[in-house]
Protein backbone atom coordinates (compact mmCIF):
# COMPACT_ATOMS: atom_id res chain seq x y z
CA UNK A 1 0.00 0.00 0.00
CA UNK A 2 1.33 3.39 -0.95
CA UNK A 3 1.57 5.61 2.07
CA UNK A 4 -0.54 8.60 1.19
CA UNK A 5 0.42 11.74 3.07
CA UNK A 6 -2.29 12.67 5.51
CA UNK A 7 -3.92 15.84 4.35
CA UNK A 8 -6.43 17.90 6.15
CA UNK A 9 -9.04 17.05 3.57
CA UNK A 10 -8.72 13.22 3.81
CA UNK A 11 -11.72 11.73 5.56
CA UNK A 12 -10.04 8.67 7.06
CA UNK A 13 -6.45 8.04 8.03
CA UNK A 14 -4.78 5.24 6.10
CA UNK A 15 -4.94 2.03 8.14
CA UNK A 16 -1.71 0.82 9.63
CA UNK A 17 -1.02 -2.88 9.10
CA UNK A 18 -0.76 -4.96 12.26
CA UNK A 19 2.83 -5.75 13.19
CA UNK A 20 3.10 -9.48 13.68
CA UNK A 21 5.05 -10.77 16.66
CA UNK A 22 8.69 -11.23 15.62
CA UNK A 23 9.51 -14.91 15.24
CA UNK A 24 13.28 -15.28 15.44
CA UNK A 25 14.57 -18.57 14.09
CA UNK A 26 16.78 -19.40 17.03
CA UNK A 27 15.69 -18.57 20.54
CA UNK A 28 18.52 -20.26 22.36
CA UNK A 29 22.20 -20.30 21.48
CA UNK A 30 24.91 -21.75 23.73
CA UNK A 31 22.53 -21.99 26.67
CA UNK A 32 21.72 -18.28 26.45
CA UNK A 33 18.38 -16.89 25.44
CA UNK A 34 17.74 -13.91 23.19
CA UNK A 35 17.36 -11.56 26.14
CA UNK A 36 20.63 -12.77 27.63
CA UNK A 37 19.14 -15.02 30.27
CA UNK A 38 20.15 -18.58 31.06
CA UNK A 39 17.60 -21.33 30.44
CA UNK A 40 16.55 -21.55 34.07
CA UNK A 41 16.57 -17.88 34.90
CA UNK A 42 13.72 -15.47 35.56
CA UNK A 43 13.39 -12.17 33.79
CA UNK A 44 14.16 -9.13 35.93
CA UNK A 45 11.57 -9.32 38.67
CA UNK A 46 10.19 -6.24 40.38
CA UNK A 47 7.56 -6.66 43.10
CA UNK A 48 5.86 -3.97 45.13
CA UNK A 49 2.94 -3.84 47.54
CA UNK A 50 0.34 -1.28 48.60
CA UNK A 51 0.19 0.47 45.27
CA UNK A 52 -3.56 1.20 45.42
CA UNK A 53 -4.53 3.21 48.48
CA UNK A 54 -8.25 2.40 48.47
CA UNK A 55 -7.80 -1.38 48.39
CA UNK A 56 -7.39 -3.52 51.48
CA UNK A 57 -4.25 -4.87 49.89
CA UNK A 58 -2.59 -4.50 46.53
CA UNK A 59 0.51 -5.47 44.63
CA UNK A 60 2.36 -4.76 41.43
CA UNK A 61 4.52 -7.30 39.67
CA UNK A 62 6.74 -6.63 36.72
CA UNK A 63 8.71 -9.31 34.89
CA UNK A 64 10.36 -7.24 32.17
CA UNK A 65 7.49 -6.41 29.83
CA UNK A 66 4.83 -8.39 31.68
CA UNK A 67 3.19 -5.97 34.06
CA UNK A 68 0.36 -6.87 36.37
CA UNK A 69 -1.50 -5.03 39.09
CA UNK A 70 -3.64 -6.81 41.69
CA UNK A 71 -5.97 -5.45 44.34
CA UNK A 72 -7.90 -7.16 47.12
CA UNK A 73 -11.08 -5.65 48.54
CA UNK A 74 -13.07 -6.99 51.44
CA UNK A 75 -13.98 -9.23 53.10
CA UNK A 76 -17.56 -8.11 52.58
CA UNK A 77 -20.93 -9.70 53.09
CA UNK A 78 -21.80 -12.32 50.50
CA UNK A 79 -24.64 -11.77 48.03
CA UNK A 80 -27.94 -13.25 49.03
CA UNK A 81 -28.32 -15.24 45.82
CA UNK A 82 -25.37 -17.45 46.78
CA UNK A 83 -27.19 -18.44 50.00
CA UNK A 84 -25.59 -19.28 53.31
CA UNK A 85 -22.09 -20.69 53.28
CA UNK A 86 -19.98 -21.54 56.30
CA UNK A 87 -16.84 -20.81 54.28
CA UNK A 88 -15.87 -17.64 52.50
CA UNK A 89 -15.83 -17.21 48.74
CA UNK A 90 -13.05 -15.86 46.58
CA UNK A 91 -14.33 -13.70 43.75
CA UNK A 92 -11.58 -13.30 41.17
CA UNK A 93 -11.94 -10.95 38.24
CA UNK A 94 -9.22 -10.43 35.67
CA UNK A 95 -8.92 -8.02 32.82
CA UNK A 96 -6.42 -7.08 30.16
CA UNK A 97 -5.97 -3.46 29.21
CA UNK A 98 -7.00 -2.91 25.63
CA UNK A 99 -3.35 -2.36 24.70
CA UNK A 100 -2.00 -5.30 26.69
CA UNK A 101 -2.01 -7.81 23.88
CA UNK A 102 -1.00 -7.57 20.29
CA UNK A 103 -3.39 -10.13 18.90
CA UNK A 104 -7.06 -10.89 19.28
CA UNK A 105 -10.19 -8.80 19.10
CA UNK A 106 -12.59 -7.85 21.84
CA UNK A 107 -14.23 -11.23 21.95
CA UNK A 108 -10.96 -13.13 22.18
CA UNK A 109 -9.87 -10.78 24.93
CA UNK A 110 -13.03 -11.40 26.92
CA UNK A 111 -12.57 -15.16 26.62
CA UNK A 112 -8.95 -14.81 27.74
CA UNK A 113 -10.02 -12.74 30.73
CA UNK A 114 -12.55 -15.34 31.80
CA UNK A 115 -10.01 -18.12 31.45
CA UNK A 116 -7.38 -16.16 33.38
CA UNK A 117 -9.85 -15.45 36.20
CA UNK A 118 -10.80 -19.10 36.63
CA UNK A 119 -7.15 -20.14 36.47
CA UNK A 120 -6.26 -17.60 39.17
CA UNK A 121 -9.19 -18.61 41.37
CA UNK A 122 -8.02 -22.22 41.32
CA UNK A 123 -4.44 -21.18 42.03
CA UNK A 124 -5.30 -18.94 44.98
CA UNK A 125 -8.19 -20.73 46.65
CA UNK A 126 -6.19 -23.47 48.40
CA UNK A 127 -3.94 -20.84 49.99
CA UNK A 128 -6.69 -18.77 51.67
CA UNK A 129 -8.11 -19.88 55.02
CA UNK A 130 -11.70 -19.46 53.82
CA UNK A 131 -13.01 -21.32 56.88
CA UNK A 132 -12.28 -18.16 58.88
CA UNK A 133 -14.54 -16.05 56.68
CA UNK A 134 -18.04 -17.54 56.81
CA UNK A 135 -20.76 -15.82 54.75
CA UNK A 136 -18.15 -13.44 53.28
CA UNK A 137 -16.61 -12.64 49.95
CA UNK A 138 -13.09 -11.53 49.17
CA UNK A 139 -12.76 -9.68 45.89
CA UNK A 140 -9.53 -10.10 43.99
CA UNK A 141 -9.13 -7.87 40.94
CA UNK A 142 -6.25 -8.42 38.58
CA UNK A 143 -5.30 -6.12 35.74
CA UNK A 144 -2.77 -7.14 33.15
CA UNK A 145 -1.23 -3.86 32.01
CA UNK A 146 1.07 -5.45 29.49
CA UNK A 147 1.21 -9.08 28.42
CA UNK A 148 4.79 -9.95 27.61
CA UNK A 149 4.52 -13.69 28.27
CA UNK A 150 3.69 -15.84 31.31
CA UNK A 151 1.02 -13.36 32.37
CA UNK A 152 -1.06 -15.98 34.21
CA UNK A 153 1.92 -16.87 36.40
CA UNK A 154 2.80 -13.24 37.09
CA UNK A 155 -0.86 -12.47 37.83
CA UNK A 156 -1.13 -15.32 40.34
CA UNK A 157 2.05 -14.16 42.06
CA UNK A 158 0.82 -10.56 42.23
CA UNK A 159 -2.63 -11.60 43.47
CA UNK A 160 -1.16 -13.70 46.26
CA UNK A 161 1.08 -10.83 47.27
CA UNK A 162 -1.98 -8.56 47.38
CA UNK A 163 -3.83 -11.06 49.56
CA UNK A 164 -0.90 -11.13 51.97
CA UNK A 165 -0.74 -7.33 51.92
CA UNK A 166 -4.44 -7.20 52.79
CA UNK A 167 -3.75 -9.21 55.92
CA UNK A 168 -5.92 -12.13 54.81
CA UNK A 169 -5.04 -15.30 56.68
CA UNK A 170 -3.10 -17.47 54.28
CA UNK A 171 -1.65 -20.95 54.65
CA UNK A 172 1.26 -19.88 52.48
CA UNK A 173 2.13 -17.48 49.69
CA UNK A 174 1.33 -18.75 46.22
CA UNK A 175 4.14 -18.38 43.72
CA UNK A 176 3.56 -19.33 40.11
CA UNK A 177 5.76 -19.75 37.09
CA UNK A 178 5.58 -21.03 33.55
CA UNK A 179 7.89 -23.37 31.69
CA UNK A 180 8.05 -23.73 27.91
CA UNK A 181 9.46 -26.59 25.92
CA UNK A 182 11.09 -24.94 22.91
CA UNK A 183 12.65 -27.51 20.58
CA UNK A 184 13.56 -29.85 23.39
CA UNK A 185 14.91 -27.23 25.76
CA UNK A 186 13.07 -26.24 28.89
CA UNK A 187 12.83 -22.49 29.42
CA UNK A 188 11.77 -21.04 32.76
CA UNK A 189 9.54 -17.96 32.74
CA UNK A 190 9.15 -17.70 28.94
CA UNK A 191 8.67 -14.35 27.23
CA UNK A 192 5.90 -13.93 24.66
CA UNK A 193 8.31 -14.57 21.78
CA UNK A 194 9.45 -17.82 23.39
CA UNK A 195 5.93 -18.97 24.30
CA UNK A 196 4.81 -18.37 20.71
CA UNK A 197 7.23 -21.04 19.54
CA UNK A 198 6.76 -23.55 22.33
CA UNK A 199 5.87 -27.17 21.64
CA UNK A 200 4.55 -27.60 25.14
CA UNK A 201 3.86 -25.15 27.91
CA UNK A 202 2.93 -25.46 31.53
CA UNK A 203 1.82 -23.20 34.33
CA UNK A 204 2.41 -24.29 37.89
CA UNK A 205 1.28 -22.49 41.03
CA UNK A 206 2.56 -23.75 44.33
CA UNK A 207 2.77 -22.98 48.02
CA UNK A 208 6.50 -23.75 48.34
CA UNK A 209 6.78 -23.70 52.14
CA UNK A 210 3.86 -26.08 52.52
CA UNK A 211 5.14 -28.11 49.59
CA UNK A 212 1.75 -28.10 47.89
CA UNK A 213 0.75 -27.45 44.31
CA UNK A 214 -2.38 -25.35 43.84
CA UNK A 215 -2.72 -25.15 40.08
CA UNK A 216 -1.34 -27.03 37.12
CA UNK A 217 -2.16 -26.29 33.50
CA UNK A 218 -0.36 -27.98 30.67
CA UNK A 219 -0.81 -27.50 26.96
CA UNK A 220 0.76 -28.66 23.73
CA UNK A 221 2.73 -31.86 23.49
CA UNK A 222 5.16 -33.19 26.09
CA UNK A 223 7.56 -36.11 25.77
CA UNK A 224 7.11 -38.48 28.75
CA UNK A 225 10.34 -37.53 30.50
CA UNK A 226 10.25 -33.83 29.67
CA UNK A 227 7.00 -33.27 31.57
CA UNK A 228 8.54 -34.50 34.78
CA UNK A 229 11.67 -32.39 34.34
CA UNK A 230 9.56 -29.35 33.55
CA UNK A 231 7.48 -29.83 36.69
CA UNK A 232 10.58 -30.03 38.80
CA UNK A 233 12.04 -26.94 37.15
CA UNK A 234 8.79 -25.06 37.80
CA UNK A 235 8.70 -26.17 41.44
CA UNK A 236 12.23 -24.84 41.89
CA UNK A 237 11.21 -21.58 40.19
CA UNK A 238 8.23 -21.19 42.52
CA UNK A 239 10.43 -21.64 45.60
CA UNK A 240 12.83 -19.00 44.29
CA UNK A 241 10.01 -16.60 43.56
CA UNK A 242 8.46 -17.10 46.98
CA UNK A 243 11.70 -15.98 48.63
CA UNK A 244 11.49 -12.76 46.60
CA UNK A 245 7.83 -12.26 47.56
CA UNK A 246 8.64 -12.74 51.23
CA UNK A 247 11.48 -10.22 51.04
CA UNK A 248 9.17 -7.69 49.40
CA UNK A 249 6.56 -8.08 52.14
CA UNK A 250 9.16 -7.87 54.91
CA UNK A 251 10.84 -4.81 53.41
CA UNK A 252 7.50 -3.04 53.01
CA UNK A 253 6.54 -3.81 56.60
CA UNK A 254 9.92 -2.65 57.89
CA UNK A 255 9.57 0.61 55.96
CA UNK A 256 6.11 1.17 57.40
CA UNK A 257 7.32 0.52 60.95
CA UNK A 258 10.16 2.94 60.50
CA UNK A 259 7.70 5.51 59.19
CA UNK A 260 5.46 5.02 62.22
CA UNK A 261 8.37 5.36 64.59
CA UNK A 262 9.43 8.56 62.89
CA UNK A 263 5.87 9.92 63.05
CA UNK A 264 5.71 9.02 66.74
CA UNK A 265 9.09 10.66 67.41
CA UNK A 266 7.91 13.95 65.88
CA UNK A 267 5.18 14.02 68.48
CA UNK A 268 3.16 16.13 66.04
CA UNK A 269 -0.57 16.44 65.67
CA UNK A 270 -0.95 12.77 64.80
CA UNK A 271 -3.10 11.68 61.81
CA UNK A 272 -2.49 13.07 58.37
CA UNK A 273 1.05 14.12 59.03
CA UNK A 274 2.68 11.02 57.49
CA UNK A 275 3.25 12.49 54.05
CA UNK A 276 4.47 15.81 55.35
CA UNK A 277 6.89 14.16 57.74
CA UNK A 278 8.42 12.28 54.87
CA UNK A 279 8.82 15.51 52.92
CA UNK A 280 10.73 17.16 55.74
CA UNK A 281 13.30 14.36 55.93
Amino acid sequence: MAAAPATAGSSKPASVPLQPLPRPATLVADGTRLDGRGLEEFRTVFLDTRVISRAAGSAYAEFNSTKVMAAVYGPRQGERRFGFSDTGRLNVEACFTSFARREGGRQAQRAAEKELASCLAAALEPSVDLGKLPKSVLDVYVMVLEAGGSEAAVAATAASLALADAGVELFDLVAACSVSDVSGQLLLDPSAAEAAQQRGGLLLAAMPSLGEVTQLQMSGDWAPGAARDALELALGGCAQLRAGMRDTLLAAEAARQQQRRRDGGDGGGGGGGGGAAAMQE
Binding site: T214, L216, P224, A227
Partner: protein, 284 residues
Amino acid sequence: MQADISDAEKLYIAQGVAQGVRNDGRGCHDARPLELELGVVAQANGSARLHVGATDVMVGVKVSLVSPDAAEPAKGQVFATVECSSCASPEFKGRGGEDWGIDMAAALQSALQSSLDLGSLVVLAGKTVWAVHLDCLVLNDGGGVLGALSVAARAALAVTRLPKVEVTMGEGDDDEPEIELGDDSEGTPMGVTRVPVIVSVAQIGSRCVVDPSAEEEPCASAVLHFAVGPGGRLGAATKTGAGGIPQPALLEMLEAAQQLGPKVLRELDGFLAASAAAASARAA
Protein backbone atom coordinates in the same frame (compact mmCIF):
# COMPACT_ATOMS: atom_id res chain seq x y z
CA MET B 1 -19.75 -33.23 39.36
CA GLN B 2 -20.75 -33.97 42.88
CA ALA B 3 -22.84 -36.92 43.91
CA ASP B 4 -25.07 -36.25 46.87
CA ILE B 5 -23.44 -38.23 49.69
CA SER B 6 -23.20 -37.66 53.40
CA ASP B 7 -20.12 -36.80 55.45
CA ALA B 8 -20.14 -40.28 57.00
CA GLU B 9 -20.02 -41.85 53.54
CA LYS B 10 -17.21 -39.52 52.51
CA LEU B 11 -15.22 -40.52 55.58
CA TYR B 12 -15.84 -44.19 54.82
CA ILE B 13 -14.54 -43.80 51.26
CA ALA B 14 -11.55 -41.69 52.34
CA GLN B 15 -10.53 -44.19 55.02
CA GLY B 16 -10.91 -47.04 52.55
CA VAL B 17 -8.66 -45.26 50.04
CA ALA B 18 -6.10 -44.63 52.80
CA GLN B 19 -5.82 -48.41 53.13
CA GLY B 20 -5.75 -48.99 49.39
CA VAL B 21 -9.32 -50.24 49.09
CA ARG B 22 -12.02 -48.59 47.01
CA ASN B 23 -15.75 -48.98 47.48
CA ASP B 24 -16.19 -50.73 44.14
CA GLY B 25 -13.40 -53.21 44.82
CA ARG B 26 -10.76 -51.62 42.58
CA GLY B 27 -7.16 -50.93 43.49
CA CYS B 28 -5.98 -47.33 43.51
CA HIS B 29 -4.41 -47.57 40.04
CA ASP B 30 -7.17 -49.59 38.35
CA ALA B 31 -9.55 -48.03 35.88
CA ARG B 32 -13.07 -49.30 35.39
CA PRO B 33 -13.67 -51.61 32.41
CA LEU B 34 -14.86 -49.95 29.19
CA GLU B 35 -17.95 -51.06 27.29
CA LEU B 36 -18.01 -49.61 23.79
CA GLU B 37 -20.57 -49.63 20.97
CA LEU B 38 -19.71 -48.26 17.55
CA GLY B 39 -21.90 -46.73 14.85
CA VAL B 40 -24.89 -46.05 17.08
CA VAL B 41 -26.07 -42.94 15.19
CA ALA B 42 -27.00 -43.49 11.56
CA GLN B 43 -26.97 -39.76 10.71
CA ALA B 44 -23.42 -39.17 11.89
CA ASN B 45 -20.24 -39.88 9.93
CA GLY B 46 -18.94 -41.77 12.93
CA SER B 47 -20.30 -42.41 16.40
CA ALA B 48 -19.68 -44.31 19.59
CA ARG B 49 -21.39 -44.93 22.90
CA LEU B 50 -19.38 -45.77 25.97
CA HIS B 51 -20.29 -47.16 29.36
CA VAL B 52 -17.66 -46.85 32.11
CA GLY B 53 -19.15 -48.06 35.35
CA ALA B 54 -22.35 -46.06 35.67
CA THR B 55 -21.10 -43.34 33.33
CA ASP B 56 -22.81 -43.38 29.96
CA VAL B 57 -21.75 -41.05 27.15
CA MET B 58 -22.38 -40.82 23.43
CA VAL B 59 -20.27 -39.07 20.80
CA GLY B 60 -21.25 -38.36 17.22
CA VAL B 61 -18.87 -36.99 14.58
CA LYS B 62 -20.15 -34.98 11.65
CA VAL B 63 -17.96 -33.55 8.95
CA SER B 64 -18.81 -30.69 6.65
CA LEU B 65 -17.06 -28.57 4.05
CA VAL B 66 -16.43 -25.00 5.09
CA SER B 67 -14.15 -22.15 4.09
CA PRO B 68 -11.10 -21.98 6.33
CA ASP B 69 -10.32 -19.51 9.06
CA ALA B 70 -8.61 -16.47 7.55
CA ALA B 71 -5.77 -16.70 10.06
CA GLU B 72 -5.07 -20.36 9.29
CA PRO B 73 -5.98 -21.07 5.66
CA ALA B 74 -4.07 -24.38 5.52
CA LYS B 75 -5.78 -26.08 8.45
CA GLY B 76 -9.01 -27.96 8.91
CA GLN B 77 -11.26 -27.16 11.84
CA VAL B 78 -12.36 -29.13 14.88
CA PHE B 79 -15.27 -28.19 17.09
CA ALA B 80 -16.50 -29.98 20.18
CA THR B 81 -19.72 -29.45 22.08
CA VAL B 82 -20.81 -31.27 25.22
CA GLU B 83 -24.44 -31.48 26.20
CA CYS B 84 -25.34 -32.70 29.66
CA SER B 85 -28.71 -34.38 29.67
CA SER B 86 -30.76 -33.21 32.65
CA CYS B 87 -31.56 -36.86 33.35
CA ALA B 88 -27.89 -37.51 34.05
CA SER B 89 -27.53 -35.64 37.31
CA PRO B 90 -29.87 -33.41 39.35
CA GLU B 91 -27.31 -30.63 39.00
CA PHE B 92 -27.84 -30.48 35.24
CA LYS B 93 -31.45 -29.39 35.41
CA GLY B 94 -32.22 -26.14 33.68
CA ARG B 95 -28.91 -24.58 32.63
CA GLY B 96 -26.96 -26.26 35.42
CA GLY B 97 -24.85 -28.43 33.16
CA GLU B 98 -24.00 -25.70 30.68
CA ASP B 99 -20.82 -24.29 32.22
CA TRP B 100 -19.51 -27.73 33.00
CA GLY B 101 -20.22 -28.80 29.42
CA ILE B 102 -18.41 -25.75 28.06
CA ASP B 103 -15.32 -26.52 30.16
CA MET B 104 -15.25 -30.13 29.02
CA ALA B 105 -15.82 -29.15 25.39
CA ALA B 106 -12.88 -26.76 25.58
CA ALA B 107 -10.67 -29.50 27.02
CA LEU B 108 -11.66 -31.97 24.29
CA GLN B 109 -11.31 -29.40 21.54
CA SER B 110 -7.82 -28.36 22.56
CA ALA B 111 -6.77 -32.02 22.90
CA LEU B 112 -7.99 -32.72 19.37
CA GLN B 113 -6.58 -29.57 17.81
CA SER B 114 -3.10 -30.44 18.94
CA SER B 115 -3.29 -34.14 18.01
CA LEU B 116 -5.26 -34.40 14.77
CA ASP B 117 -3.40 -33.71 11.52
CA LEU B 118 -5.33 -30.57 10.63
CA GLY B 119 -3.28 -30.13 7.46
CA SER B 120 -4.77 -33.34 6.07
CA LEU B 121 -8.27 -31.87 6.37
CA VAL B 122 -7.63 -29.36 3.60
CA VAL B 123 -9.63 -30.05 0.45
CA LEU B 124 -8.72 -26.99 -1.59
CA ALA B 125 -5.95 -24.84 -0.19
CA GLY B 126 -7.27 -21.55 1.17
CA LYS B 127 -10.79 -22.20 -0.14
CA THR B 128 -12.32 -25.33 1.33
CA VAL B 129 -11.48 -27.48 4.33
CA TRP B 130 -13.21 -30.13 6.38
CA ALA B 131 -14.77 -29.04 9.65
CA VAL B 132 -15.08 -31.89 12.12
CA HIS B 133 -17.91 -31.45 14.59
CA LEU B 134 -17.80 -33.59 17.68
CA ASP B 135 -21.17 -33.67 19.41
CA CYS B 136 -20.99 -35.25 22.83
CA LEU B 137 -23.91 -36.19 25.04
CA VAL B 138 -23.63 -37.13 28.70
CA LEU B 139 -26.48 -39.56 29.37
CA ASN B 140 -25.46 -40.54 32.90
CA ASP B 141 -22.84 -39.08 35.22
CA GLY B 142 -21.18 -41.86 37.16
CA GLY B 143 -17.84 -40.12 37.59
CA GLY B 144 -14.93 -39.69 35.20
CA VAL B 145 -17.10 -38.14 32.48
CA LEU B 146 -14.28 -36.21 30.81
CA GLY B 147 -12.18 -39.36 30.51
CA ALA B 148 -15.12 -41.32 29.12
CA LEU B 149 -15.83 -38.58 26.57
CA SER B 150 -12.23 -38.60 25.38
CA VAL B 151 -12.26 -42.39 24.85
CA ALA B 152 -15.61 -42.24 23.04
CA ALA B 153 -14.34 -39.31 20.94
CA ARG B 154 -11.27 -41.24 19.85
CA ALA B 155 -13.42 -44.27 18.99
CA ALA B 156 -15.93 -42.18 17.05
CA LEU B 157 -13.16 -40.40 15.13
CA ALA B 158 -11.48 -43.74 14.37
CA VAL B 159 -14.60 -45.05 12.61
CA THR B 160 -15.27 -41.75 10.83
CA ARG B 161 -14.66 -41.75 7.10
CA LEU B 162 -14.10 -38.46 5.32
CA PRO B 163 -16.26 -38.68 2.17
CA LYS B 164 -14.39 -38.81 -1.11
CA VAL B 165 -14.21 -35.44 -2.76
CA GLU B 166 -13.78 -34.68 -6.43
CA VAL B 167 -12.70 -31.20 -7.35
CA THR B 168 -13.23 -29.93 -10.88
CA MET B 169 -11.38 -26.75 -11.64
CA GLY B 170 -13.25 -24.15 -13.66
CA GLU B 171 -12.15 -23.20 -17.16
CA GLY B 172 -11.34 -19.57 -16.55
CA ASP B 173 -9.46 -18.05 -13.64
CA ASP B 174 -12.60 -16.51 -12.20
CA ASP B 175 -14.66 -19.70 -12.20
CA GLU B 176 -15.25 -21.26 -8.82
CA PRO B 177 -14.01 -24.87 -8.70
CA GLU B 178 -16.77 -27.44 -8.41
CA ILE B 179 -16.71 -29.86 -5.53
CA GLU B 180 -18.51 -33.17 -5.71
CA LEU B 181 -19.02 -35.37 -2.70
CA GLY B 182 -18.67 -39.11 -2.97
CA ASP B 183 -20.26 -41.83 -0.90
CA ASP B 184 -19.50 -42.26 2.79
CA SER B 185 -18.50 -45.91 2.39
CA GLU B 186 -15.56 -45.17 0.10
CA GLY B 187 -14.18 -42.38 2.24
CA THR B 188 -10.76 -42.13 3.83
CA PRO B 189 -10.19 -42.62 7.54
CA MET B 190 -8.79 -39.80 9.67
CA GLY B 191 -5.44 -40.25 11.38
CA VAL B 192 -6.29 -40.72 15.03
CA THR B 193 -3.15 -42.46 16.32
CA ARG B 194 -2.01 -39.35 18.20
CA VAL B 195 -5.40 -38.48 19.69
CA PRO B 196 -4.99 -38.71 23.47
CA VAL B 197 -7.30 -40.08 26.11
CA ILE B 198 -7.88 -38.04 29.23
CA VAL B 199 -6.98 -39.75 32.49
CA SER B 200 -8.33 -38.30 35.73
CA VAL B 201 -6.36 -38.80 38.91
CA ALA B 202 -7.96 -37.77 42.19
CA GLN B 203 -6.23 -36.85 45.41
CA ILE B 204 -8.14 -38.40 48.33
CA GLY B 205 -6.49 -37.92 51.69
CA SER B 206 -2.83 -38.57 51.14
CA ARG B 207 -3.30 -41.06 48.30
CA CYS B 208 -4.27 -40.77 44.69
CA VAL B 209 -6.74 -42.90 42.78
CA VAL B 210 -7.27 -43.06 39.02
CA ASP B 211 -10.64 -42.85 37.27
CA PRO B 212 -12.67 -41.68 40.30
CA SER B 213 -16.31 -42.76 40.50
CA ALA B 214 -19.20 -40.41 41.25
CA GLU B 215 -18.96 -41.24 44.95
CA GLU B 216 -15.21 -40.68 45.07
CA GLU B 217 -15.22 -37.34 43.26
CA PRO B 218 -16.72 -35.33 46.16
CA CYS B 219 -14.18 -36.90 48.55
CA ALA B 220 -11.25 -35.66 46.49
CA SER B 221 -9.48 -32.47 47.50
CA ALA B 222 -8.22 -32.02 43.94
CA VAL B 223 -8.45 -33.87 40.63
CA LEU B 224 -5.89 -33.63 37.83
CA HIS B 225 -6.95 -34.44 34.28
CA PHE B 226 -4.07 -35.42 32.00
CA ALA B 227 -4.40 -35.92 28.26
CA VAL B 228 -2.15 -38.91 27.59
CA GLY B 229 -1.16 -40.02 24.11
CA PRO B 230 0.54 -43.19 22.92
CA GLY B 231 3.82 -43.97 24.68
CA GLY B 232 2.84 -41.80 27.64
CA ARG B 233 3.22 -38.50 25.78
CA LEU B 234 1.38 -35.77 27.61
CA GLY B 235 -0.89 -33.17 26.12
CA ALA B 236 -2.99 -30.75 28.08
CA ALA B 237 -3.48 -31.04 31.81
CA THR B 238 -5.95 -29.23 34.02
CA LYS B 239 -6.86 -29.25 37.69
CA THR B 240 -10.25 -29.13 39.35
CA GLY B 241 -11.11 -29.05 43.04
CA ALA B 242 -10.24 -26.50 45.69
CA GLY B 243 -7.41 -28.30 47.47
CA GLY B 244 -3.66 -28.27 47.10
CA ILE B 245 -1.63 -31.27 46.01
CA PRO B 246 1.54 -32.24 47.92
CA GLN B 247 4.56 -32.09 45.63
CA PRO B 248 5.53 -35.78 45.81
CA ALA B 249 1.90 -36.73 45.12
CA LEU B 250 1.94 -34.56 41.98
CA LEU B 251 4.74 -36.60 40.45
CA GLU B 252 3.02 -39.81 41.54
CA MET B 253 -0.21 -38.70 39.87
CA LEU B 254 1.68 -37.82 36.70
CA GLU B 255 3.24 -41.27 36.65
CA ALA B 256 -0.08 -43.02 37.31
CA ALA B 257 -1.63 -41.15 34.38
CA GLN B 258 1.30 -41.94 32.11
CA GLN B 259 0.95 -45.63 32.92
CA LEU B 260 -2.81 -45.87 32.61
CA GLY B 261 -3.18 -43.79 29.43
CA PRO B 262 -1.27 -46.13 27.06
CA LYS B 263 -3.06 -49.11 28.64
CA VAL B 264 -6.46 -47.61 27.82
CA LEU B 265 -5.26 -46.73 24.32
CA ARG B 266 -4.05 -50.29 23.71
CA GLU B 267 -7.35 -51.72 24.92
CA LEU B 268 -9.31 -49.32 22.74
CA ASP B 269 -7.19 -49.88 19.63
CA GLY B 270 -7.45 -53.67 20.11
CA PHE B 271 -11.22 -53.40 20.21
CA LEU B 272 -11.35 -51.10 17.18
CA ALA B 273 -9.11 -53.42 15.15
CA ALA B 274 -11.22 -56.45 16.12
CA SER B 275 -14.48 -54.73 15.20
CA ALA B 276 -13.02 -53.50 11.89
CA ALA B 277 -11.93 -57.08 11.10
CA ALA B 278 -15.38 -58.38 12.00
CA ALA B 279 -17.02 -55.77 9.78
CA SER B 280 -14.86 -56.65 6.78
CA ALA B 281 -15.50 -60.36 7.36
CA ARG B 282 -19.25 -59.66 7.31
CA ALA B 283 -18.89 -57.70 4.10
CA ALA B 284 -16.95 -60.48 2.37
